[in-house]
Symmetry: C2
Subunit: 222 residues, 2 copies
């Protein structure tokens, strides 16, 4: 049983990714970084924490190898170490959705009642993009759109959405998407659009899933 110690150490090591993701705040960070790299301060405001605290969470993710850093001037950009981290996060979410009874309640508390909102799968969106009979809106912040978006989507950050509505062809079907299945922006966009008499639906997951599925994407410089 001298092995016990070594076995325990090995298994403690094998779960270090789980330890790193075993905090809602760090999961929020991963969810944001799945959209593209970000400097610390922006991540901090995104997750509603102090910069110092966010920095510590980032260090934790870094030690677990889930993120990497790049320095530019005096800001430090954090990014996911690779796609498998985003995949792990997606898997975690879906296991929780299947097995944890009150995820649904928590989701409704945060997102509101989603049952009225039309959703569209990736396959469906692909098909409709091919037929060009749909307008796709990326309602994430502009920086995330620039870092990568569904090929053919227009940028309409959620807080500029109302100004952009009039530019859209009045009879078009609109599909909005954002960061992932639990991101509020697309829900808000669909509600706003339907309130204004548009036909709108949301993509059932977000940009990272689209990109990871190998579907067509575009990026812009800067």
């Amino acid at each position: 049983m001298a092995d016990r110690v070594a076995k325990a150490a090995l298994f403690d090591g094998l779960v270090s990714a789980a330890k790193a993701l075993a905090s809602g705040r760090r999961a929020e960070i991963v969810d944001v970084l799945a959209q593209g790299e970000r400097p610390v301060e922006e991540i901090a405001t995104e997750i509603g924490q102090t910069v110092a605290n966010t920095s510590q969470h980032l260090q934790h993710l870094l030690r677990a190898g889930l993120v990497r850093t790049r320095r530019d001037g005096n800001r430090i950009y954090y990014a996911l170490a690779d796609d498998r981290v985003a995949e792990l996060w997606a898997m975690l979410r879906s296991v929780a959705a299947d097995h944890v009874a009150d995820i649904e309640r928590l989701a409704t508390d945060y997102l509101g009642d989603r049952r009225q909102l039309q959703t569209v799968t990736r396959a469906e969106l692909t098909r409709r993009l091919r037929h060009r009979d749909v307008v796709v809106l990326d309602v994430r912040p502009a920086a995330e759109y620039r870092a990568g978006h569904v090929a053919g989507a227009l940028s309409a950050p959620i807080d500029e959405l109302t100004h952009k509505i009039q530019d859209l062809p009045p009879d078009a079907d609109i599909i909005a998407y954002c960061r992932g299945p639990y991101c509020v922006y697309a829900d808000q966009a669909v509600r706003t659009l339907t309130r204004r008499g548009r036909r709108a639906a949301r993509l059932e997951d977000g940009y990272p899933e689209w990109a990871r599925a190998g579907l067509p994407v575009n990026t812009l410089p800067n």
Copy 2:
């Protein structure tokens, strides 16, 4: 920013599977349960903890929905809730192997130097089973063999292995497997067998991965 609270709660919920797996001990439990259901006391001895402590870990996994229970007489059998839990555990391991620098060292500390040991992939083993030019040994405890094993494998629990060696055709290639990529038994078996002049290799992962890949398996009653 009233949303902050609801968002935090949602994300805390979404990571509950990660929280449940964020303990080496609970990961050991999941690794054992991936072989089939087990009563509490056996799990406790398997992971080298007291029954009370093990019971608490199991409750934790239960609350996260990762395991389910079944009562038989006065023992309670725990099992993984479904295959996706085993998949999540496999993904966690492989992310750690990729990103955590000292997994390799920890593995060597526990398993010894593996570099001498021949390994075989699932595809390779499938091929060789088809050609019937190989003997496959399941070196896990007999109960796990009964709960499910690679079709065509013989049961040779590691501590009975030495007695069983003589029954094996002297010139056969032998392939041993056990619980997964970080399980000691197959390594030990290969070392023992080669020390006795047999040609032996280990399957690079274990039974659960074989079964999840949809490859042929057998079970025995009891």
